[in-house]
């Protein structure tokens, strides 16, 4: 009933399902401001992730996260591939070789994930990107993993919603100027969806 490699892998598989369910929504969000591929990119990417996890489940939570990272980086492309990939890679680094995750490790992983996205994408809060969802999520705290991830998911949701009135300064939506106002950022939405799914998985532990 601890959060071991198997639980983390199961959570990733569940998240892949959520991505699949929301594929069309994410495509539509990206169609409004971008190139209409975000939902398809993540669906494709998490499809490969599930296949990879089917073949072999790594031993530690960190190794699972690293596998997810390498599949996303090598199979997705676009902005989402490297950014999500890097976030999982940094998260893997943060949890190291631990056999089971703790709230502290999860918190560290979220912070590292944010650091990775910012390092790669150079976006700041308010640039209307996934950072607007991930940054508040990384600041969430909780005494246990379900509580922590639920708080993170709620923060990510609010952060994603906060992108609606913004003009974009990074990513494809930055080409639109004022016309980006009124639209939810697809990457922020997918961060929120993933965290909500992780929180739900954690509740079931």
């Amino acid at each position: 009933m601890g959060c071991d490699a198997r639980s983390v892998a199961a959570a990733v598989v569940a998240a892949a399902g959520v991505v699949g369910e929301h594929r069309d929504e994410l495509v539509r969000l990206d169609q409004a401001m971008g190139d209409a591929d975000h939902g398809e990119n993540l669906r494709r990417g998490f499809g490969f992730v599930v296949s990879a996890l089917d073949e072999s489940t790594p031993d530690t939570p960190g190794a699972v996260l690293k596998l997810v990272a390498s599949v996303l980086i090598s199979k997705v492309g676009g902005a989402a591939g490297p950014l999500f990939g890097t976030s999982f890679l940094r998260a893997a680094g943060a949890v190291g070789a631990a056999e089971e995750l703790t709230p502290e490790l999860v918190s560290a992983a979220l912070g590292a994930a944010l650091g990775g996205v910012v390092a790669r994408g150079k976006a700041e809060l308010g640039d209307k990107t996934m950072v607007d969802a991930l940054a508040p999520a990384a600041s969430a705290r909780g005494a246990d993993i379900p509580t922590l991830l639920t708080a993170a998911a709620i923060a990510a949701d609010a952060g994603a919603e906060s992108t609606i009135p913004l003009v974009a300064r990074k990513g494809r939506a930055s080409y639109l100027g004022e016309r980006a106002i009124g639209h939810l950022d697809p990457g922020a939405r997918s961060v929120a969806l993933l965290l909500r799914s992780f929180a739900n998985s954690a509740m079931g532990l």
Partner: protein, 329 residues
């Protein structure tokens, strides 16, 4: 959605199979990861020139692979930049030992994926292409995107590499083209992405999107559909003002179809652009007219101007043999 395709998820793979079949002597097409390489590569001692990007812009980039231009192209999913694996595989195939020049359109996805690949490669130089004046240039944003100038950069850097220039020289020439080229485009209709099935945006019969990119993203603004003279002027003025291009300049004028605009309209637009440039005292000494940087079935055009000097002109004129651009061989 009306398209001649089988499974939408397989369009790129299926199209690459056709490309390979159509050009067996010219191209070596590999899958997993997808790479389109010149069959004559690697050439020992020659700088390898590689580009790539999302699919849906054909002939960019795969149609520009061959002697005198690209050694390899990495086609991503439709409108999705390729993965680092593709770029690494391409480099492994075509590196002739004199270094690898990566020509990258300035989009977040393209930049990040090529950047990741470059970390794994020795002796590479990356040149970012960002010629679209429709996008405000600012250090706080993703910056300008790469559009029409890409063809010119690929041709000129490819010619330099073919002529034996070293990696730094090739990169410097590519940067010179980027520095001297500006573009802008407009759309009459939106493209339909196969995995989406509906047009990327909906445009009334009497409106155009001005300042569009090549991924079906909306443009900077909508304007009434006016006549060709006004439309061409609306693209050309911001281009001229940006560099700026001035009387006495000798330029290459590239009139590009976004895919669905027929040649009849394209040549008509080209003629207007030539007249406007002549009236400004700018001399067009080279031209390219056709659908070269497209956005699936989108109707629309873009104009690209490149200020030429004798060195760039010679490299433009040098022989090239690719699926989409060919002369002198």
């Amino acid at each position: 959605m009306k398209k001649i395709i089988n499974n939408p998820a397989d369009v790129v793979t299926d199209a690459l199979r056709g490309l390979a079949a159509a050009h067996p002597a010219l191209l070596r097409v590999t899958r997993d990861p997808a790479v389109v390489a010149w069959a004559g590569s690697p050439v020992a001692g020659k700088v390898a020139v590689i580009s790539g990007g999302g699919s849906g812009h054909e002939p960019l980039h795969t149609g520009f692979v061959g002697p005198g231009m690209l050694d390899a192209a990495c086609p991503g999913a439709v409108f999705t930049s390729p993965t680092p694996d593709q770029v690494q595989a391409a480099a492994a195939q075509v590196d002739g030992g004199a270094g690898v020049l990566l020509l990258v359109k300035n989009y977040t996805g393209d930049v990040l994926n090529f950047e990741t690949a470059a970390e794994f490669l020795d002796n590479t130089r990356t040149v970012l292409i960002d010629d679209d004046v429709a996008v405000q240039d600012s250090s706080f944003t993703a910056g300008r995107r790469g559009v029409g100038a890409t063809v010119l950069v690929e041709k000129i850097a490819g010619a330099a590499a073919a002529a034996g220039a070293d990696l730094d020289t090739c990169a410097r020439l590519a940067e010179a083209v980027v520095a001297g080229a500006r573009s802008m485009g407009l759309a009459l209709t939106a493209p339909t992405v196969p995995h989406v099935g509906s047009p990327s945006f909906v445009l009334p019969e009497d409106e155009v999107e001005v300042g569009i990119g090549i991924h079906g993203e909306p443009g900077r603004r909508r304007e009434p559909l006016t006549d060709a003279s006004a439309l061409v002027a609306a693209l050309l003025e911001p281009i001229l003002d940006d560099l700026p291009f001035v009387a006495g300049d000798e330029v290459l004028l590239f009139t590009n179809s976004m895919g669905g605009t027929p040649l009849l309209e394209l040549y008509l637009a080209h003629g207007i652009a030539e007249e406007l440039l002549a009236a400004r005292g700018i001399t067009v000494i080279r031209r390219l007219v056709g659908p070269y940087v497209t956005s699936l079935d989108m109707q629309g055009i873009s104009l690209t101007l490149l200020r030429l000097d004798p060195a760039l002109t010679d490299l433009w004129d040098a022989p090239v043999h690719t699926a989409a651009l060919r002369w002198g061989m």
